[in-house]
């Protein structure tokens, strides 16, 4: 058993656990990914409220814990303890299955996300196709939720949401295909659909596909960036959230834990589509400028970034600890904030150890790029007003789709003309 576990840790293994057929490590990776995603969802929940509040010149949550840090936990507790209502005349089985199907679809996508050259649960030959296919299963969950509620508003909301998702999937697929075309620009002329293969193609061509065939890569990225916001039902395309004008969407009749499962699915889907964008256009796990700023000294400089991030977080936390009110009523909160700063400092110190420093590189850059996208999501929500449904359809079918077809054709033409 121990040999079986150790066999994967051998540094000569250049495969993901799924490819190596190592069940134990695949299971460990699945657990790590699941826990990590849940943790990011909790952090994102807090950050979203805080950032949104500061954009609107408010303070945001301040009561539960220092700077409202424990607010997500309080919310989760509230949602778990809330009464779980199943409306009369609802189709209980379908009602019960709908949030589970969404969660299942969203979390299956994480199977192929490459956090590093060997840090993925598995690498499939059809990676990106698998991701698009499985995430399209989430539409089923939405349709089921709307229908099973036995009420008119969720049914109409579900039709609206799924029409939105189905139509933006088309534009999204076209943007993805133009990237797959770019991967085929190598001596053998065969492209790849594998997520790791796509990043390796960017490595071999020494360019992020964002800047490939300027501005074609940029336009296809733009199409994907708009479509992914619509796919995840987020602002400015968040019609399911439009309580005031549309009586919300497919989850009107859901409450308590089931409703929170929908929210968990939404946030997990945001992370999943962000990681598709990072893999396809932003060079996946590669650090910025791997060729322009190459050499051992630059490698060393960039390897300090993970530790520096956590040193910065620790500094920020200690600064806030000093600024806490001095009244004895706040003593526990001040101590807690100080302890959090200590934890950040400890993580930063661990990350500065040379061995650790080298091995967390890939994962750090990948997660940092995802974090950029998640911030963008919050920023959109604070900036753009909500689209009306006909405007949303118009953008999807009359702007993004022709643009996608044009970019695809031009990419093919430029790719053939290229020496």
């Amino acid at each position: 058993m121990l040999d079986y576990i150790r066999s994967y840790l051998d540094p000569s293994v250049q495969q993901t656990p799924g490819q190596a057929g190592n069940l134990f490590w695949a299971l460990v990776y699945i657990l790590i990914v699941f826990a990590g995603v849940s943790l990011i969802v909790v952090c994102m929940n807090w950050l979203e409220r805080k950032v949104l509040a500061h954009m609107q010149v408010r303070l945001g949550p301040m009561r539960v814990g220092p700077h409202g840090l424990l607010q997500p936990i309080a919310d989760a507790l509230k949602l778990i303890l809330k009464e779980d209502i199943i409306p009369q005349g609802a189709d209980v089985f379908v009602f019960w299955m709908a949030p589970l199907i969404i969660l299942l679809a969203v979390f299956s996508v994480y199977c192929v996300i490459p956090f590093g050259p060997t840090h993925a649960i598995t690498d499939m030959n059809i990676g990106i196709l698998f991701m698009l296919g499985v995430s399209s299963l989430a539409v089923l969950g939405i349709v089921m939720a709307g229908w099973a509620s036995n009420s008119h508003y969720p049914l109409i909301g579900a039709l609206r949401s799924s029409a939105q998702m189905v139509s933006y999937e088309v534009a999204m697929g076209l943007a993805v295909v133009s990237v797959v075309l770019m991967t085929s620009l190598n001596p053998t002329g065969t492209g790849t659909l594998s997520m790791i293969g796509i990043v390796r193609a960017q490595q071999a061509q020494q360019i992020w596909f964002l800047f490939k065939f300027f501005p074609l890569g940029l336009i296809s990225f733009f199409i994907f960036a708009v479509a992914m916001v619509a796919e995840t039902n987020r602002a400015p395309f968040d019609l399911p959230e439009a309580e005031s004008e549309l009586t919300a969407g497919f989850h009107t009749e859901y409450s308590g834990l089931r409703w929170s499962l929908f929210m968990l699915g939404e946030y997990a889907a945001m992370i999943a589509v962000s990681s598709i964008a990072v893999t396809l256009w932003l060079g996946g796990w590669m650090r910025p400028f791997p060729h322009w700023l190459s050499g051992p000294s630059w490698d060393l400089a960039f390897s300090f970034f993970p530790a520096l991030t956590f040193f910065f977080l620790a500094g920020l936390t200690f600064y806030s600890t000093r600024r806490m009110p001095k009244h004895p009523y706040f003593r526990v909160q001040t101590l807690g904030l100080g302890a959090l700063g200590g934890v950040f400092l400890l993580i930063a110190l661990i990350l500065s150890v040379p061995g650790v420093r080298r091995s967390v590189q890939d994962v750090y850059w990948f997660v940092a790029k995802i974090a950029g996208f998640l911030y963008l999501y919050i920023w959109y929500r604070g900036t753009f007003p909500r689209y009306r449904f006909d405007q949303l359809m118009k953008v999807g079918w009359k702007v993004l789709l022709p643009l996608g077809i044009g970019v695809l054709t031009l990419t093919a033409v430029v790719g053939v003309l290229q020496p």
Partner: protein
């Protein structure tokens, strides 16, 4: 990489497909039937994976489960389900049904009796990692003309659907 527990997965997926198929015809509620059909199609995608055809499996999920079945559900949900639930799910075509079942059964028994001699042995086992590339080469090199004709047919059908659905163009 060696396949893991192949017989187990084969029987599990086949069992799921048969269960889904039986549920499709026995459920009174058409939405439940459609959901059971989705289960069957997913099982089929799993079988394609076992046949080392991951590309076909992925396309099966995207097209059938993510596309066609969602449209099916759209239509079914908008019809009056209370009325359809009172209808009998089995109609009077049982004679034709029995004939078809007997014909299929005879075929199955014949194939089972002949055994593996029925099937052409594969010349070269296709590596799983090249499946997508092989499909692409086949479609765009060897069978370019039929493929283009099929896409032209689809275009015609699409224009026809738009013309029929739109009152005023």
């Amino acid at each position: 990489m060696n396949p893991v527990a192949t017989p187990f997965f084969f029987y599990m997926l086949s069992g799921l497909m048969i269960l889904g198929g039986v549920l499709v015809i026995t459920r009174k509620n058409p939405v439940h039937s459609a959901l059971a059909l989705i289960l069957t199609l997913l099982g089929q995608a799993g079988l394609y994976l076992m046949l080392y055809a991951p590309f076909v499996a992925g396309v099966q999920i995207i097209l059938y489960v993510g596309g066609i079945m969602v449209l099916f559900l759209f239509v079914i949900m908008l019809v009056n389900i209370e009325r359809t639930q009172k209808d009998k799910p089995f109609n009077k075509l049982w004679l034709v049904g029995i004939l078809a079942a007997v014909a299929l059964g005879v075929l199955l028994v014949r194939i089972y009796a002949k055994g593996s001699a029925m099937f052409v042995q594969p010349v070269v086992p296709l590596p799983e990692t090249e499946n997508t590339q092989r499909v692409g080469e086949m479609l765009y090199r060897n069978y370019m003309f039929p493929f283009e004709i099929a896409s032209l047919l689809l275009l015609v059908a699409m224009i026809g659907a738009v013309v029929m659905a739109k009152k005023r163009i």
